[in-house]
């Protein structure tokens, strides 16, 4: 730990509104641990979220927070990172938030490849609104709205991320906290957009994909697994059912958004830009 680091450094005084037993607690602990182990400080971190149970997490950690709109965590997150690359920007959002309402931002921010980490609390359900199907809910699962079972086949978030060209794609599980901490550290350190889809049991609304259900199926990708092979990653990502792999499915280095704009890398961050109105006067010339 850095000087001034202490175990409680990232503790927030906000009261936690999650249900006892919720998988979100493990994620909260994991992210705090990861940040401590990475020697980060609260003021260096920007936590961005949308709306949902997952999206409350930023309030429960001491850090800069932008808790925006349902489905819209990514756009402000990447913009903030572009403006101030010194911030470690982390997005926490639910499966509904990310893959449902926010699906378009998901695929397009993968293309943008801004250097942020994105942790999706995937409980395969809309929890805050009390249990409707999310894009990852199993086919046929019955809910208060899917009274005849979910009619739409579930998305595979890892497949989608790989198909859209993500450079870091991983899956974690709240039941494997140490593994999750490591994934988080890797994701945060990865230059560019890094996704971890985190299997997170919701004890109140998802009675199918419970902690036990996951625990029975989850296994860690073996050491030998090569993370640089896209076809292999796609194949692995298809594995879901009896066995569910967790770990880093794919990791390569790709130029980030800012790498492509020389004046962003050569100059001080936009947040520190020094500018006078008179500096714009030169643009008059072409209008003369």
């Amino acid at each position: 730990m850095k000087e001034g680091q202490s175990k409680g450094l990232f503790d927030s005084d906000d009261e936690i509104a999650w249900c006892p037993g919720c998988g979100n607690f493990a994620i909260l602990t994991a992210i705090k641990t990861a940040l401590l182990e990475l020697n980060k400080r609260p003021e260096e971190i920007l936590m961005v979220s949308g709306i949902g149970q997952a999206a409350k997490l930023p309030h429960y950690i001491r850090a800069n927070v932008f808790n925006g709109l349902h489905g819209r965590a990514l756009p402000p997150a990447v913009a903030a990172k572009i403006v101030n690359p010194e911030l470690t920007v982390i997005v926490h959002s639910g499966d509904g938030d990310t893959y449902g309402e926010g699906g378009n931002h998901f695929i397009h921010n993968i293309r943008r490849n801004v250097d942020i980490a994105h942790f999706v609390h995937d409980n395969q359900i809309y929890a805050l609104t009390k249990g409707q199907a999310s894009p990852t809910t199993d086919l046929g699962q019955v809910t208060g709205i899917q009274t005849k079972g979910n009619l739409d086949q579930p998305l595979n978030p890892l497949m989608l991320a790989l198909a859209a060209g993500a450079s870091f794609v991983a899956r974690g599980f709240t039941g494997r906290p140490e593994h999750l901490v490591n994934l988080m550290k890797e994701a945060i350190s990865h230059p560019g957009y890094a996704l971890i889809d985190i299997l997170q049991p919701c004890v109140s609304f998802n009675k199918v994909n419970t902690h036990g259900w996951y625990a029975d199926r989850v296994y860690e990708l073996p050491e030998e697994y090569e993370t640089g092979n896209l076809s292999r990653a796609l194949e692995k990502a298809l594995e879901w059912g009896e066995k569910i792999p967790v770990g880093i499915f794919y990791r390569v280095e790709k130029p980030t958004f800012s790498d492509r704009l020389s004046w962003l890398t050569d100059h001080p961050p936009l947040v520190d830009r020094v500018w006078n109105p008179q500096d714009a006067e030169r643009f008059l010339t072409e209008l003369e």
Partner: protein, 567 residues
């Protein structure tokens, strides 16, 4: 001296280039120019035209009656020849020859001469030469213009074409050159863009949508030079949410769109307000509903933007009246957004966004950026920083994340406590609502009264807003001799400045709202805010901008119908 040339043809025929040659030549000669473009939502074919008006005194609007028509196709002849004045001249290829009802026609071998010049693609340049000679324009000013417009490979052939065209005609109109004043020629889009650059904009995110795209194109062309980011978002929702994120992180940020895109930004508008993140949004109107007329003009989104988004929060809405106003108001919008930590909406429209006008160069010397971001005195305090601190004036000191020592900045879209966390407390809710709304009271003091045009204590008072400013000014000039008439032209429109209005309205016999829409949205707002009802309306909603003459004619109709009505 006040001439009006129409250049018309199908999309893709080079109408734009011909118009540019004429506009720039005139500007270089020191005359005042006003050039308005009428184009269809297609890339080739159809019927597009420019109306280039030039005079020895400032021009505020296009006008319908034409001195010269340069017709690159027969449709232009058919559609426009009736607009030709009695002394007017129509210039067109001989193949389009037909009877015209007024003016004189010059059926020239434009196509043939273009081939002679080197390629039939230069037909427009031949025609431009012919037209320039009608006005006896000086060759020496045309070359640099040609040079700036054509890549070197095609400069020579166009130069030849111009010369050949020039030789086809004789001077027919007498030019008077005003005393040469420094001038820029600029569109509303450019003026907005430059105003934003001057204000220190460093992050722009947007999604293409006519007629707002000009702003983004302008800014994108300055990206590297100004050292800023201009990013095309995947959709308008992303565009506004990105701009908000950038602003939260400390950049001056902006987005622009038209009505359809604004629909998708409505929730983001509320987000800016609720998180108290400064934001400037330009909404460049086109006729709706929905897709409507993508490339035409209307002022029918005022009511929409006034109350867009659920719940209640302060916003400021400023209508841009002309390119000069657009520059200064855009600049000011950034300062106001920062000062009150609110969204500021700039309302423009296709007319304002696209017409070129010669105006005095913008004066940068008096401009000052006021960020209103708190300093050490706030963040060096030992207590945790409270982003939404309740203060006497309703304004919480704003800090920027990562730039305030060990403090953190917590912004939230739920109802929140002073420190930015989610709350459900009734008393906090009331306090936060009042804190937010309190800034509306500040804005009421901040807003600028409308421009007063014509007589200051008139019997007939026109009320207008935004881009009809110029046309109304011209209308007043046309009507002033015969009537006791004046106008108020609103720029700041919400909160509505009501002082002049309530001073003048009681003394008038006719109160006429002049708007480019079907329902009279300014009139509605005035009824709501000032309990004053307009007695008559002049409304246009066919997507074509009102000219000064159009307004004058319609006002006269209103006046005479009213006299008849009261007989």
């Amino acid at each position: 001296m006040d001439f009006n040339i129409l250049v018309g043809g199908a999309a893709g025929q080079g109408v734009d280039t011909v118009a540019k040659v004429l506009e720039l030549t005139m500007k270089k000669q020191g005359v005042e120019v006003f050039s308005h473009k009428d184009y269809m939502s297609r890339v080739r074919g159809g019927h597009n035209f420019h109306m280039i008006r030039f005079a020895d005194r400032p021009i505020y609007s296009h006008r319908e009656s034409l001195d010269v028509i340069l017709a690159l196709d027969s449709k232009t002849v058919e559609i426009h020849s009736s607009q030709l004045s009695a002394q007017g001249v129509l210039v067109s290829d001989e193949s389009y020859r037909q009877k015209i009802s007024t003016g004189n026609a010059l059926w020239l071998p434009l196509k043939e001469k273009a081939v002679e010049a080197g390629t039939k693609l230069t037909e427009g340049t031949v025609a431009a030469g012919a037209v320039l000679h009608l006005f006896d324009f000086d060759f020496e000013t045309v070359w640099p213009v040609l040079n700036s417009l054509f890549k070197s490979e095609i400069f020579e052939v166009n130069r030849r074409a111009l010369e050949i065209g020039y030789a086809l005609t004789e001077p027919q109109f007498k030019l008077e050159f005003p005393e040469s004043q420094p001038r820029i020629m600029v569109t509303g889009s450019q003026a907005i863009g430059l105003g934003a650059l001057a204000a220190g904009l460093s992050f722009y995110s947007g999604y293409p949508m006519t007629p707002s795209t000009g702003i983004m194109t302008y800014l994108a062309s300055k990206m590297e030079d100004a050292g800023i980011v201009v990013e095309q978002a995947e959709d308008e929702i992303a565009a506004i949410n990105m701009a908000i994120g950038a602003s939260y992180a400390g950049a001056r940020a902006m987005t622009a769109t038209s009505g359809g895109g604004f629909c998708l930004m409505v929730e983001g508008l509320g987000l800016a307000a609720m998180t108290e993140t400064p934001l400037v949004i330009a909404e460049i109107q086109r006729p709706g509903p929905v897709t409507g007329f993508p490339t035409r003009t209307e002022q029918a989104d005022l009511s929409f933007v006034l109350t867009a988004s659920q719940g209640e929060f302060p916003r400021m809405v400023t209508a841009l009246r002309d390119p000069e106003d657009a520059f200064y108001q855009t600049f000011r919008a950034f300062n106001l957004a920062d000062k009150y930590q609110i969204p500021v909406i700039l309302l423009g429209d296709q007319y304002l966004g696209d017409y070129y006008q010669t105006i005095p160069p913008f004066d940068f010397s008096a401009l000052t950026i006021e960020r209103a971001i708190a300093g050490e005195e706030v963040w060096k305090q030992p207590e945790h920083y409270q982003r939404y601190k309740l203060t006497d004036d309703g304004i919480s000191p704003r800090l920027v994340p990562g730039r305030c020592g060990t403090q953190v900045v917590i912004a939230d879209s739920d109802e929140h406590t002073e420190d930015g966390h989610i709350t459900e407390a009734a008393d906090v809710r009331v306090a936060m609502t009042q804190k937010r709304m309190q800034r509306l009271e500040h804005l009421k003091k901040e807003v600028q009264e409308p421009w007063v045009i014509g007589q200051t204590d008139p019997k007939i008072l026109l009320l207008a807003w935004g881009s009809t400013a110029g046309p109304v000014r011209e209308a007043i000039e046309l009507l002033e001799e015969d009537y006791s008439i004046g106008a108020l032209i609103f720029g700041d429109i919400y909160p509505l400045p009501t002082k002049l209005l309530t001073d003048l309205a009681p003394n008038v016999t006719m109160l006429i709202n002049v708007e480019q829409n079907a329902t009279g949205q300014l009139a509605s707002l005035i009824r709501q805010e000032a309990l004053i009802a307009c007695t008559h309306s002049v409304l246009r909603y066919d997507g074509r901008p009102m000219s000064g003459q159009y307004i004058a004619d319609r006002v006269k109709e209103v006046i005479s119908s009213d006299e008849r009505g009261t007989e």
